[in-house]
Structures are given as structure tokens and as C-alpha cells.
Assembly symmetry: C2
Homo-oligomer: 236 residues x 2
DNA sequence: ATTAGTTCTAGTCATATTGACTATAACTAA
DNA sequence: TTAGTTATAGTCAATATGACTAGAACTAAT
């Protein structure tokens, strides 16, 4: 293998190593209020640097896979999940991100549906955390999560990401709860539903959500496509 | 050096090589109409693959510089320019971008002021092209430029990028011409100026642009900051 | 069975924003 | 002096937004 056979001088001259990491968002009910909140899975570092701290799932980029494939594989390997939404976030390449070597990380962010997220593997070294209560993470991963949250909030206002955190069928109140969880403020139910009803990508179904405590709300379906990335653009 | 000493099998196993490229936009008057249009500098490939074709300026990432620094240096080396605006565009990492080896390119995009752009170095192997008339470029660089244009148009609508294509003082009509050049459609002068006048970041000066053929327009100044990138975020 | 409580849903109204358009001001060139 | 052109301010209708009211439809408690 390359790095093990190279001496120190060669390592210095060698190009920075390249890694892929992923910020994976999913909604889970808050333990107290029961209202949906943002969660993400982290893995515990089992070696130096930052041994014992939590970090974003990630790994090296292998030779035969594209960046997106690498992110997708990594996500599946650590959590067992197949995300509905996967997009490149940013390439982080500061000089001192890792104390031991120069690493450039190309970070992706993903959204998974709650039904899937509930099935996600969890173990001693893989655990889900509330996005607003992470503590100190390894490397610059706190800053990366902050940026991913900023992007999520931005994309939410713009367009179509909210539905990738929900199942196929959803009520308009559920969509509003996603917005409230991500933006961290309450929205007027009546005005919010007026806006959603005016977007053609949200389709009314004949079904209603039964079993609730109050008037059963109508179920809707999202018919739009994500697509803005260069890697996703030609998908029709 | 690493790559020259490795044999074929080692190159296969080695991590993909990492390069930085930059899409540099500047306004130049159209040759026919004289109205401002988007131009960008390209460099001619002097070796295989794609020898003789035009390509985005770029090069390898050296060990001691951040991604942004590498883009900045590269830009200065090929064109002599110091851009007013420099932001990461995307990391391109498809498997077959280069026929000879696996390359991951982290691409930046830059905006330079016309006064600077006029001073840019030009030579046999460095030449400026109209952004809408590039012909076939090396590698996947046509797709990269397309994506950069898409981002530019997007950011324009959102916020503050237009001013980085202009000098320190500008007329509102000049701003409108930037929008018209980038979005490729005409805008109503009266409505456009009403919008600009309602944005607090545009400051009225007491000066007027003299020497024109008609009523002298007032000069304005932009007082906002760019900042959205993780690398630029903490700049106050 | 009735009532209270809650959410779902549709609507009103004032305000802000946008696009199309008109009109006047201020300059140059003929 | 006048015609031509751009700069600039303003009007008006259509649309979008935020605050709010109110009835419909269900459950749970009395």
C-alpha cells in the first residue's frame, strides 16, 4: 500500500489524501415533546487522532467509484441506510484539519425518511444525536455540521427538500413541522397551508390520515424532482 | 516525485490525484454592440491528453496551501489577476474525466473587475473567450463552465455578486447591464432602479458620471460583504 | 348524549412587492 | 433652438404575505 511504504519525506511531498464524509439528517420525535426534530448519526473514532470522540461517517475514496458513489457506499456501510436525497456539500481542505496529516474531505449531505431512519443500525460505535446537541466532535466536524444545517435551512426556504425528510404520503401539518424543526420557529398553520396548496408539485390524494386525536387531515404526495447538482442535473 | 517513480499497478492502487481549477468571469464590451458581456480566460493544453485544446486554468494542489489559496495562486500565475470574489464551485470526481488517470478537480469560480481584467496577461497560450462562445474544451470543462454560469445567474438573483464585476463606483444602469448580460434578457430600467434603491447596501454618492452622451447618471457604491462560504464565513 | 378541546380548513383584510406603463428632467448633437 | 436619448420619479393593477377570524370535523371527558 502506498502510505505504509513511503517514508516521511515522501509523505510530505505526496498529494494530500482525499476522504469522503457525509452529514446524514433524519427526523425523529423529540424525547420530551414528541415533535419531530433533526437527528444525525455519528461514529466513534477508534484510533488516533481524536480517539474516542464522535465524528461524521466517512472514509477514503477508492479508485473505482465516483464521489457520490463513495458517499452512498459509506452511508450504507455505517448506517445501513439508502438516502432519498444525496448532494455534495463542500470540499474542506484547510491545512490543519487533522493534526497528523493533510486531508481534503469532500463532504456530502443526505436526507433520509423517518421510516428508514428508524431501521438504521445503531451500535456501540454508531449512534444518533440531536443536531442541536452534538458536543465536541473530532476534526472540524462541528463546523461542517453547522454549514450543513445552514444549507438545509436555505434549501428548505427555496424548494423541495422538506419532502425528502418525510414519507411518500404526508399531511400539510407534517410539512409544517419539518419547517418548524429546521428553521426553529413557529409558522402560522393557515398561511403555511395556503402557500403549499399553491405549489403545483404537491398533489392532493383522496386519503386521510386516520387514528389521530382530532379531525383527520388529508394526505398529500410530492411529485417534484430534486436536481440541481451537476451530478444530478440530467436526471429527468 | 511520486507519480514518476510508481509503476502501473501502483498508480492503480494510488488515491486519485487532486487538482484545482478556476472559472474566472469578467465583463468586457462586446465587439459588435459594445454592451458588456461575460468573458473568461482559458489556457491551451500543451501536452496530452487534449493537447492543443483550450481548458480552464488549473494545476495540482501543493502540500502547504489551502484550497482557496491554491485557486488564488493559480489564478494569479495564469492571468496575473487578483480577484475580488472567489468561491468554491464544486468538486468534480467522475471516473472518466481524464482518459489517462483518475483526477478529482476542486473547482473555484472568481469575479474580477473590468479595470483589472483589462490588464490581464494574454499570450499564445492564454486567451479570453466570450462565455457563450467557447467551442469544445478539454476534459469535462464545458460542463463545468455551464454549471458555473448557472451558479452565477442564481447568485445574481439572490444577492450581492453583481458588484464584484464592477468597479468601486458605478451607475445603476451599469448594474442593470450586468444583470442583462448574465441573465440574457432585458430588464425594465425604472423597475430595476426602484429595487436597487430599496436595498440598503447600495449607497448613493454625490458624484455623477460625466462625459456621456446624455443626462449624467449618479454614481453609487456597494457597501455589503460577500460571505457565505464556510471558508469566508467568519470574515466580518 | 352532550360538551369541551383540538386540529383542519377556508376565508378576510391590510400591507408590501412586482410588472407594465407614463411623464418629466437633464444632458448632447445637429 | 430642437430632436434624440438616457436618467429618474411616479401611477396603477395584479400578486404575494402576515395577522387574524371562523366554521368543520374529529376525540375525549362528563
Amino acid at each position: 500500500m502506498y502510505t505504509s511504504s513511503a517514508n516521511v519525506a515522501e509523505r510530505q511531498a505526496a498529494p494530500p489524501s482525499l476522504a469522503i464524509s457525509t452529514v446524514i439528517f433524519a427526523l425523529r420525535p423529540s424525547e420530551k415533546s414528541g415533535r419531530p426534530t433533526l437527528w444525525l448519526p455519528l461514529v466513534r473514532r477508534i484510533r488516533e487522532p481524536f480517539k474516542g470522540l464522535w465524528a461524521l461517517p466517512g472514509g477514503p475514496l477508492t479508485h473505482a467509484e465516483s464521489l457520490q458513489d463513495a458517499a452512498s457506499r459509506n452511508l450504507r456501510e455505517t448506517t445501513g441506510l439508502a438516502p432519498k436525497y444525496l448532494e455534495q456539500l463542500y470540499a474542506f481542505g484547510g491545512l490543519h484539519r487533522s493534526p497528523t496529516q493533510r486531508v481534503v474531505s469532500i463532504v456530502y449531505w443526505a436526507l433520509v425518511q423517518p421510516t428508514e431512519a428508524a431501521l438504521a443500525d445503531e451500535s456501540e460505535n454508531v449512534k444518533w444525536f440531536r443536531a442541536d446537541r452534538l458536543g465536541d466532535l473530532a476534526f472540524d466536524h462541528n463546523a461542517i455540521v453547522d454549514y450543513a444545517l445552514w444549507r438545509l435551512r436555505n434549501k428548505l426556504a427555496y424548494g423541495s427538500v422538506a419532502y425528502h425528510l418525510l414519507g411518500e404520503y404526508f399531511t400539510l401539518a407534517e410539512v409544517r413541522e419539518v419547517y418548524e424543526a429546521v428553521l426553529d420557529r413557529e409558522l402560522d398553520p393557515a398561511n403555511f397551508r395556503r402557500q403549499l396548496k399553491s405549489t403545483p408539485e404537491i398533489e392532493e390524494t383522496g386519503e386521510y390520515l386516520q387514528g389521530g386525536k382530532h379531525r383527520p387531515p388529508r394526505l398529500y404526495r410530492f411529485t417534484g424532482r430534486p436536481g440541481l447538482d451537476p451530478d444530478n442535473r440530467s436526471t429527468p
